[in-house]
Symmetry: C2
Subunit: 369 residues, 2 copies
C-alpha cells in the first residue's frame, strides 16, 4: 500500500465499503457481495483473469527443465488450484470479492512454447473448456480465445470458431513467440482474423524475449519491471512496424495500465518526431500518441493505485481504461477494495468497471435485461 | 503537445507568460527574462544540461564507425554548436528561456566508450572546461563531474578534485560501461567516493546494454522508450544488487521523471514481495518503494506534462522532483513554458524549480544573498 492511495480514501463511492484509516485494504471491510445496501449501480467486470487445464500444465512441466524462466513462472507458483478451477470455486471467490464477471484467459505463456501441432490442439481444448464454463455460468464468465501464433492458418480458423460459434470476447497472445513479435509478416493472418472478427487482441506479458531476458532477470523484479518492458517493447514494434496501420480497426489491450506507455505518451511523440526528423527516418502516418489513443486499451491489472490510474485516465481518456483483477496472481478482493478507494466520478467508475468492458469485449454475460 | 497539458493551462503561476489557447508552447509568448513584472519569486535551475568539447567529439568520431549506435547518437545530431558552447551564447539562450542556472554535464555517452587512459584524461579536461565556465559565470553555472567508471581509482581521485577543489555539484554516469552496470564490485570505489563527498550521482541514459540493444532499436523509439528501459533497468540492478544498502547515503538522480519507475512504485513493491516470498529469494531489507523514496531523486527532463508530473509528485513527494530542461536535446524555452503551465502550488513550484536543486546539488550559484 503506498502513499499514492491513501490520499484519496475519502469520498469513496458506493460499493467500496469502509477502508481502514491506514489505507490497508482488507477483504473483511469490503462489500463482499458486490453491493452495499443495494447501492452499487454497476457491475464489476474483470478482464485479465487467468486459468489453465491439467493438459496444459502437463505439457508445460515437460518443458520446464529445459526452460530456465519456467522455474519462476506461474506453474511454479502456488496458484495452481485457483488456475485449474474454472467452476464453482472460482464463482464463490468472485462473489466474495464482489466481482460479477470474469473474462477468462489461459495463463501466460499460453500455448506459445509448444510445437505448432501441440499448440493448436491444446488451444482448441482450452477454448472448449472455457466455453463449458460459460455454458455453466453464462452470467459470470466471458473468455479470450487461446492463440497459437506459431500455427497462423489453423489459429485463424480456430479464432473464427471461438468468436462466431463460442461467442468469445477477444483473443489473447502472451507477447513474443519463439523470440518473435507480431510485426513479423508470418503472424499477420492471426491479426487479420482478429480484426475481421471485430474483437480485441489482449497483448499479455511473458518472460522477456531472448537478449532482454538476461539483463531483465533482476531478482524480484522479473514481473514488476521485466513484464512491462517486454510487453511495452512489443507494442512499440507493432506500431513502428506499421502493423497498426495495416490493421487499423485492431484494438490492442494492454494490462498493468498499459505497461508504462501512457505515462510516456507525450515524450514518445516528442522524441519520435525528433528522431525521425533528425535522422531522416520514414515516419509513421500518425503520432505515437494517436496510435495509443485510437488502437490501445488499458486494463488496471495489478495497478490499483491512485496516482498512475488518474494519470492513465488523463492521458488516454476514461473510455480506454478497464478494470482487471489479475486473479489469481493478485488478490481479487484487494483489487476491488483498492480500486474502489480511488477518487473517480460516478461516470468514470461505471465506465471503468462495466461499460467499457461491455463495449470493448462485446460482452453480454451478466448484463441486466 | 498532448491533451494532458491542455487541461491545466488555466491558473498558470507567475513567470509562465501567456500560453496560446491551443496549448502550443512558444518562446515568443514566454517570459524571456525569467521574470514577469518582477513577480517570479524563485529562480529556475535546470539540472540535466549537456555540453561537450572538441576533444571529446574528435575521440567519439574516431569510434563512430565501429559503433552502430553512435550514428544516431547526439554527435550525429544538429546539436553540436549548442553542445560546444559553454559560454556567452549558452547564457544568452538561458536568458531568453528564463533559466537562471544550468548544472552542466558532458553529453551522453560521456567518456565511457574510451580506453581507461583516454577516458580519465578527457574526463579531467572536460571537468577543467566546466570549471572555467563556472569561473566566468559563477551565477549561472554548476557542474556534474565527468566520470570514467572504467578507471575507478583514478576517477575516485578526480571526483575529490571536482567536488572539493572545483566545487562541483555531483557526478554523472551514463548507464552501462562496456555492458556492465554499477552493481559490479569493481565500480564500487567510484560510488564510495561519490557517497563520501556528499553529492548525488546522476544516472543518465545511453544506448541500451548489449542484449537489449537489438530489441530496443525500434525506429523512432530508441530514446523515448529505449533510454528509459536501459536506465530503469540499471537502477533496479543497483537496488537488487544491494548497492543502495552498501552506500545508504548515496542519492541517485534519474532524469525523465524517473524513467517510468515512479508510476510502477506500488506494483514493484507488490510483485517484489510476491516473487521473493513464493520463490524464496533473499529479500532486500527495504521495500523497492523505500529505496526509491529514500535514495532516488527525479528530474523532469523531457517530461513537462501534467499527468506524469502530478503522478510523480504524488508517488515520490515534491522534495524529490526537480526541474531539468535537457538543453540542447530539448528546447529549453518550451520546457519552461510547459512546466509553468502545469498546475502546482506556489510551494511546489518553488521547490521544483529552485529549492530542491539547491539542497540536492548543494548549489550556491546564483543564490540571492
Amino acid at each position: 500500500m503506498g502513499i499514492s492511495k491513501r490520499g484519496f480514501l475519502q469520498g469513496v463511492a458506493a460499493g467500496a465499503g469502509v477502508l481502514a484509516a491506514t489505507g490497508k485494504a482488507s477483504a473483511a471491510t469490503t462489500a463482499t457481495t458486490g453491493t452495499v445496501g443495494g447501492r452499487r449501480s454497476y457491475q464489476r467486470i474483470a478482464c485479465e483473469e487467468a486459468c489453465t487445464t491439467p493438459e496444459v500444465v502437463k505439457e508445460l512441466s515437460r518443458l520446464a527443465n529445459g526452460v530456465p524462466s519456467m522455474k519462476s513462472g506461474p506453474i511454479a507458483g502456488p496458484f495452481m488450484p485457483d488456475l485449474l478451477d474454472i467452476g464453482a470455486g472460482r464463482v464463490r471467490g468472485m462473489d466474495a470479492a464482489g466481482i460479477d464477471v470474469q473474462i477468462l484467459s489461459l495463463v501466460s505463456p499460453g500455448v506459445q512454447l509448444f510445437a505448432p501441432d501441440t499448440a493448436i490442439a491444446l488451444a482448441r481444448d482450452v477454448n472448449d473448456r472455457m466455453a463449458d464454463a460459460i455454458r455453466l455460468y453464462p452470467a459470470r464468465f466471458g473468455a479470450l480465445a487461446v492463440v497459437a501464433p506459431q500455427a497462423p492458418a489453423e489459429t485463424a480458423k480456430e479464432l473464427q470458431r471461438c468468436i462466431q460459434t463460442l461467442k468469445f470476447n477477444g483473443a489473447l497472445i502472451n507477447s513474443h513467440t519463439n523470440g518473435e513479435y507480431l510485426d513479423q509478416q508470418k503472424y499477420w493472418p492471426v491479426l487479420e482474423a482478429i480484426e475481421a472478427l471485430g474483437v480485441p487482441l489482449y497483448l499479455h506479458p511473458r518472460d522477456p524475449a531472448p537478449g532482454m531476458e538476461v539483463p531483465l532477470a533482476i531478482p524480484g523484479f522479473a514481473v514488476g519491471w521485466g513484464y512491462a518492458v517486454e510487453t511495452g517493447t512489443h507494442l512499440l514494434h507493432l506500431m513502428a512496424g506499421g502493423v497498426l496501420d495495416r490493421f487499423p480497426k485492431l484494438q490492442v489491450v494492454l494490462g498493468h495500465l498499459g505497461e508504462t506507455l501512457p505515462f510516456l505518451l507525450d515524450r514518445l511523440d516528442n522524441r519520435y518526431a525528433w528522431q525521425t526528423s533528425v535522422f531522416r527516418l520514414k515516419a509513421l502516418p500518425r503520432k505515437p500518441s494517436e496510435y495509443l489513443r485510437e488502437q490501445v486499451i488499458l486494463t488496471t491489472s495489478g495497478m490499483n493505485y491512485a496516482a498512475p490510474v488518474r494519470a492513465a485516465i488523463e492521458a488516454m481518456g476514461i473510455e480506454r481504461v478497464l478494470f482487471s483483477a489479475d486473479h489469481p496472481m493478485e488478490v481479487q478482493a484487494d483489487a476491488v477494495t483498492e480500486m474502489e478507494g480511488i477518487r473517480l466520478t460516478a461516470t468514470e467508475r461505471r465506465k471503468m468497471f462495466e461499460d467499457n468492458a461491455r463495449r470493448v469485449f462485446r460482452l453480454t454475460a451478466g448484463a441486466k435485461a
